[in-house]
């Protein structure tokens, strides 16, 4: 249960309290629940939202992510999909899921909280980086510029969410009969195709973190965590677009943000 300990260490009290809340009204979930033949699901809607956002200039859209904790079952599909998509390597995970079981039998409560980057409006990691390697795009994505990053790790203590991780290099299949090629394959982070096969070349030896799968957005696809979420618990889109599902979510009374007292103004939010 390393997750639990990590959770207790990381999670602010406000969040814990919020996790206990249930059964509030759900925005738009009726539409999302497509039992009948012609209905489209939340995935269809978010794809449409995405395509609409992409035709706008970057500075007129603002990407955001919502995670509905009532629907998250803690399966960690997102964790692994992200690893596969971004070839993160051992010790780096962009989207861990923290699982907590509380209560006494038979009144037990379990919460699973995926923890991607919060893509803060005022990112503490960015401020802390003396190499100017953490950048914020006009559409809100906070990302590591691998060309500038020299692995100073100042962003690690700065981030109130424990997000940035240092890529030490190495492979999961180290110390087996053969290191496997899929681990060395290229990721497309921030639209740049980079194989992870040289110890002195990015992304090895750099800070790494979630970028909302910018490269997928650019290709017209939703982030990997969002498409693979088997509980339909992850929502993504342009929060500046009033018609978007994510905007609708953001107006829900169930909205909670993690550790707001840190003052970094997260873009990623939760529904409890």
């Amino acid at each position: 249960m390393k997750n639990r300990r990590e959770f207790l260490k990381d999670a602010p009290n406000a969040m814990l309290a919020a996790l206990g809340l249930t059964a509030l009204a759900v925005v738009s979930a009726k539409a999302a629940d497509s039992a009948d033949a012609k209905a489209t699901g939340p995935m269809d809607r978010m794809r449409a939202d995405l395509l609409r956002a992409l035709v706008k200039p970057a500075d007129q859209r603002r990407w955001a992510m919502a995670i509905d904790l009532r629907k998250c079952i803690g399966c960690e599909a997102c964790t692994v999909a992200c690893r596969s998509e971004n070839k993160t390597g051992p010790g780096v995970a962009y989207r861990p899921v923290l699982v907590e079981t509380e209560g006494a039998f038979p009144d037990v409560k379990r919460t699973s909280t995926p923890r991607p980057c919060m893509h803060c409006e005022k990112p503490a990691c960015l401020t802390a980086c003396s190499a100017d390697a953490i950048k914020k795009a006009p559409d809100g994505i906070v990302y590591v510029d691998y060309e500038s990053c020299v692995g100073l790790k100042a962003c690690i203590p700065a981030c109130p969410y424990g997000v940035p991780k240092f890529d030490e290099g190495g492979y999961f299949t180290d110390n087996t009969p053969k290191v496997q090629d899929y681990e060395k394959a290229a990721a497309y982070e921030m639209g740049v195709k980079r194989p992870r096969n040289m110890a002195d070349k990015a992304p090895m030896g750099r800070m790494r973190k979630c970028h909302y799968c910018f490269h997928r957005l650019q290709a017209g696809a939703l982030p990997a965590c969002t498409t693979t979420c088997i509980g339909h618990a992850t929502f993504f889109g342009d929060i500046k677009d009033e018609q978007s599902l994510i905007s609708e979510m953001s107006r829900s009374p169930r909205v909670r943000r993690l550790n707001e007292s840190a003052g970094t103004k997260p873009t990623t939010f939760y529904l409890v």
Binding site: M1, A29, K30, A32, S34, A35, A37, K38, G41, M43, L51, L54, V55, P57, A58, D59, K71, I73, G74, C75, E76, A77, A81, R83, S84, E85, P90, T101, E102, A104, F105, P106, V108, K109, R110, S112, A137, P138, E147, N175, T176, P177, D181, Y182, A185, G191, V192, K193, H215, A219, G220, L222, A224, T227, T228, C229, I230, G231, H232, A233
Partner: protein, 1069 residues
């Protein structure tokens, strides 16, 4: 424009096209604009399109990380699968899914959802511990000392036999009988007639001496001429499989049965959810004419089960099922979670463990393991007492009555059952017994037969009727009891009422260890949603010694609301036919065999009537017989060990690991490692696993990313479907030549090569008859894909469209990395013919064939219906005897206590106070995901979960190491070889989410093989990886039947291998 793909596998044209739907390629510029600050200048030079949203760079196939069978896109760069996502055409991964006719251009950017296991799938293929050449053991069985040998040499050795292990100490002089020695009866005509006579001998309708005189020339082909019903020596070859899907299943059955002539092609059903399947079989038996037996009988029961339509139900009672962690989770989870979030779906979870679904439930009911039938009967009692059942549905006695009420299904609740002197309910009353003469009918060949009817009380008069009568509506009284024409009778519904009334709800609740009020609330809720309430069950219900009855109780609960086939009710799986049987072509598989043998005799697992065998010698039998089941996995190896019903000489094991997977699987070891008990043991495996460890030969196999299969479907899937698994990457195993054709070493090449060597009919030249050869796996599989593409109508009106030229080109591009031995357009096209080729491509481009969302339901019902009688009372079960006790089984849903041995006795386990169960987590499959390092990263170890109350009593803290011991395994050990012992030691996790008195561990950990241990190959040590051996696998603590002594407990009716009736103690290490 004719462009070659770039190194990223993407043409510029394709890239531009792929963005065109966004509103024009001009869009690219603002995204790449330096003003956007998204990329640095130096990086801009390296900027590339995203290769993984391009149909030219993936193959749509099917996952097999677990048995769910999600459609996947295997995304391939430079020949390597670098990413796997869901195939949106598959309703498994996308809810709702796009119509089948949607173009690839529209779906290439759409990824469906996969679980963590699916996302890690390439790690099963690219496992550094995979075997790539044939291994032959160079030491004793289990010593882990191997040599690689030539494929053809291995084939020769297993066919011809001889002193194959003369360099192994102790086996210098051991003469191994090869498969040729066992291929004794080859005469198709003789086999067919002998089979009929042998059956007569078993039934005592022919004397043994008569048989011997008639078949004097063939007696040397029999296992025992004095017991001809055991069958020919061919049966001494046994083929056993674990996970098996269509296509490969057809090949195995073809080889073992049709061509080699052995009855022993045996699957693993009972270790999964055997009694659930065989309850479904019993309930779906129909009163109809049996073509084979030429008479009307209970026949045609399907080995299947039902589950809930999660997408439309309003209330689901999930009992002993784990739909958000176990199998089918990708299909079920979005439907359940969307329903939860919208308020459409309310659900309760009955499970001693707080599953992730329980964490979302309206009510968690942590009942005692094994009490699921009692819980169901409590609900049934409340529903009957409060008259909350659908009396209209239950009164319908035949099809006409059901149709009049717009129901597709009906049951036999109102039918009259005869009660004997001892009060035992037996057969249904027949029309002929109330003076209504049987109807004379004619079969297809014009042969006359008697059709005797069933009887209900209607308007105070007995009425005889045909259950399938579509014209005259027959409804019966539900609670009749009396004497009709001298026969004492009760309705099935009355029998159910009596069964449920054996205890009060408070007493049932006590058995379950739950609050009676909770049960009443469940019953009220269950009957408050019309047909949109379902009891959904799985292994937690069926893997008990009372599993069949538990399952029958809970499917009966569903009958009370009549939810079968209803949208939001109880549904079944539906698959598109790939055999060509329905359309009688284009390649009708059942006819693609030149000379089929008629295998006959008693299978070694004895799924026949004990009383009809020459081995009958009163009760108890030497080992149990299971006439209502098949594929009784736990009985295979122990039966070989006891040579009952006869000794086995050779076994092939495919994709199975009974030692690891079975409860008390450790009992298999002493048989598998003893060449005197099992002289020849061949395994087909991708690694050296816990069971293939004991093999004489291991033939490497292909993983799911390298092979063909027809995945089929599951009862949770409302859409008719047939996902097709196809080669996505070049095989990682050695390529060999079989009859001059290149192919990878795999299950198929092994069987084809052995068949050619033995000159078996059905393989090689004209192997598929009518000039169609069967040398390469593709020769068969592509024709089966063609059948699927052609559809189920003889006139071709059900065929899929032709792939467009554009999609043909995508098909080629996506396979540009495959060697000719795997994919060659000319060869493939020739196999299926030019006409069908574009249709085959259409299907393969979409990873199978799937029903549209819009066609899934009609008029409040599922389109894919069960549509026939469902047995509330199962006459065949009621008239079958337990081979150990001689007592008849029950035809009506009944509670019997769990945890009994084969003689029906309770086990003495007073010193073992805890009940051990197992569970699945979403991150691992039972025996085959420990090779997936990304999964080990999220779950690298498991624990023994225990309630704080029990932990306190035992003085245990989180992280303490404990050994799991039991009455049949007091040392808590796996005895792997004489020298090698592994204790079942696990780390304690104190968790309020487990019922006090119950402990559990998640499956998939605690390996000692599968790459976790050093092995010797060709004199070199291959170092194992300790990461793959972490955690605990406590199956060896599960009880061994005290009477049989070498097998786990079994359900005597439905044959489940029993996991959850295990009593243990934890000892601090």
């Amino acid at each position: 424009m004719n462009e070659k793909p770039t190194s990223m596998g993407l043409t510029r044209r394709a890239f531009l096209q792929s963005t065109a739907f966004l509103g024009g390629s001009a869009l690219l510029s603002p995204m790449l604009d330096k003003a956007g600050c998204l990329i640095s200048e130096s990086a801009a030079a390296e900027l590339a399109g995203y290769d993984l949203a391009d149909a030219n760079n993936y193959i749509s196939t099917v996952c097999l990380q677990c048995n769910t069978g999600c459609g996947i896109k295997a995304k391939i760069i430079d020949g390597v699968v670098v990413k796997i996502d869901g195939n949106p055409y598959s309703p498994w991964t996308m809810f709702p899914h796009p119509d089948y006719k949607t173009s690839l251009a529209e779906t290439e950017k759409i990824d469906g959802a996969l679980c963590a296991k699916g996302q890690s799938g390439m790690q099963t293929a690219y496992d550094p511990y995979r075997i790539t050449k044939v291994l032959k053991r160079a030491g004793k069985r289990g010593e882990n000392n191997w040599v690689t040998i030539d494929f053809q040499q291995a084939v020769n050795e297993i066919v011809e036999g001889g002193k194959l292990f003369k360099s192994v100490p102790g086996e210098e002089g051991r003469e191994v009988e090869g498969l040729r020695d066992l291929y004794a009866l080859k005469d198709q005509g003789a086999a067919k007639s002998m089979a009929a006579d042998a059956k007569k001998v078993g039934k005592k309708k022919m004397q043994v001496f008569e048989f011997k005189r008639k078949w004097a020339d063939y007696l040397d082909t029999l296992i025992d001429p004095d017991k001809p019903d055991l069958g020919p020596k061919n049966n001494q070859f046994v083929f056993v499989w674990g996970r098996l899907k269509g296509g490969r299943g057809d090949v195995i059955k073809r080889f073992t049965g049709d061509s080699f002539g052995s009855v022993n092609a045996i699957g693993h059903t009972t270790v999964c959810q055997g009694s659930l399947y065989f309850t479904g079989k019993a309930m779906s038996e129909q009163w109809a004419y049996d073509e084979k037996d030429k008479k009307v009988k209970w026949t045609g029961g399907d080995k299947f089960f039902w589950e809930a339509d999660d997408a439309n139900a309003e209330f689901v009672l999930y009992i002993g099922v784990n739909p958000t962690e176990g199998n089918y989770l990708t299909y079920r989870t979005p439907r359940i979670m969307d329903g939860l979030a919208s308020g459409r779906l309310k659900f309760a979870v009955v499970d001693p463990r707080f599953s992730t679904l329980a964490g979302k439930a309206w009510k968690w009911v942590p009942s005692k393991p094994g009490s699921e039938g009692a819980l169901g009967l409590a609900l049934i009692r409340w529903i009957i007492d409060n008259k909350r059942y659908d009396a209209t549905f239950l009164a319908n006695a035949n099809k006409a009555a059901a149709t009049a009420d717009k129901e597709s299904t009906w049951c036999n609740a109102s039918w009259l059952v005869k009660i004997d002197d001892k009060g035992h309910a037996g057969e249904f009353l027949r029309g002929s017994e109330i003076g209504v003469a049987p109807e004379i009918r004619k079969d297809k060949e014009g042969m006359e037969y008697d059709f005797d009817r069933m009887v209900v009380m209607a308007g105070a008069q007995p009425k005889a009727f045909d259950p399938d009568d579509e014209k005259s509506v027959v409804e019966g009284e539900l609670l009749y009891e009396g004497t009709v024409n001298g026969h004492r009778v009760k309705t099935a519904f009355l029998l159910l009422t009596e069964s449920a009334s054996q205890k009060t709800i408070a007493q049932w609740a006590e058995i379950c260890g739950v609050d009676a009020k909770d049960l009443e609330e469940l019953a009220r809720e269950f009957t408050s949603h019309g047909k949109k309430a379902v009891a959904d069950i799985h292994r937690g219900v069926s893997q008990h010694t009372n599993g069949y009855y538990n399952s029958h109780v809970l499917f009966t609960l569903n009958l009370l609301v009549g939810n079968y086939d209803h949208q939001g009710g109880l549904i079944k799986a539906g698959t598109y036919d790939y055999s060509g049987g329905k359309a009688k072509g284009p390649f009708n598989y059942s006819k693609l065999h030149p000379v089929k043998l008629s295998p006959f005799g008693t299978p070694i697992i004895r799924n026949e009537k004990y009383e009809d065998s020459t081995l009958f010698a009163g009760y108890p039998a030497k080992r149990p017989w299971f006439p209502l089941a098949s594929d009784i996995y736990q009985e295979i190896v122990p039966s070989i060990g006891d040579a009952y019903p006869y000794p086995v000489k050779a076994m092939i094991l495919y994709m199975g690991s009974p030692v690891y997977a079975l409860p008390a699987g450790n009992t298999n070891i002493s048989v598998l490692k003893d060449p005197a008990k099992l002289p020849l043991f061949i395994a087909s495996d991708i690694v050296i696993g816990e069971t293939s460890l004991y093999a004489d030969y291991i033939f490497p196999d292909l993983t799911f990313l390298e092979r063909w299969e027809f995945q089929g479907s599951h009862p949770t899937v409302a859409q008719k479907a047939q996902p097709v698994r196809q080669p996505a990457i070049a095989p990682l195993v050695e390529t060999v030549k079989v009859a001059g054709r290149e192919m990878p070493i795999c299950l198929e090449s092994m069987l084809i090569a052995v068949a050619l060597k033995l000159e078996l009919s059905g393989f090689g030249k004209d192997g598929l008859k009518d000039g169609m050869d069967y040398f390469h796996p593709d020769d068969l599989y592509l024709r089966l894909v063609a059948n699927l593409a052609f559809g189920e109508k003889e006139d071709g009106s059900d065929a899929v469209p032709d792939a467009s030229e554009k999609e043909m080109e995508i098909f080629r591009q996506a396979r540009r990395h495959l060697p000719k031995s795997v994919y060659e357009e000319k060869r493939w096209k020739k196999i299926v013919g030019a006409d069908l080729w574009p249709k085959v491509v259409y299907v393969l481009n979409r990873g199978g064939r799937f029903m549209d969302q819009s066609k899934t339901y009609k008029g409040g019902m599922v389109a894919n219906k069960y549509g026939k009688l469902a047995g509330m009372y199962c006459e065949k079960t009621a008239t079958t005897k337990d081979s150990m006790t001689g007592k008849k089984f029950h035809g009506i849903a009944t509670y019997v206590p769990a945890g009994l041995d084969c003689l029906g006795r309770e086990l003495d386990e007073s010193a073992y106070p805890l009940t051990l169960i197992t569970h699945r987590r979403a991150q691992h499959t039972k025996s085959r995901t420990v090779s997936n390092y990304w999964l080990l990263d999220v779950q690298g170890e498991n624990d023994i979960q225990i309630n704080p109350i029990d932990a306190k009593a035992l003085g245990l803290k989180d992280g303490d190491l404990v050994k799991v011991v039991s009455s049949s395994n007091p040392k808590g050990e796996w005895q792997i070889t004489d020298q090698w012992v592994k204790t079942m030691t696990g780390s304690v996790l104190i968790d309020p989410g487990i019922r006090p008195g119950v402990v559990t561990f998640s499956l998939g950990m605690g390996h000692w093989m599968y790459g976790s241990t050093d092995v010797q190959v060709d004199g070199k040590t291959i170092k194992g990886d300790a990461r793959r051996g972490k955690g605990v696998h406590a199956n060896a603590a599960m009880p061994v039947d005290p009477h049989l002594k070498n097998v786990c407990l079994s359900d005597s009716v439905g044959a489940s291998a029993v996991f959850y009736d295990s009593r243990v103690r934890l000892e601090k290490v």
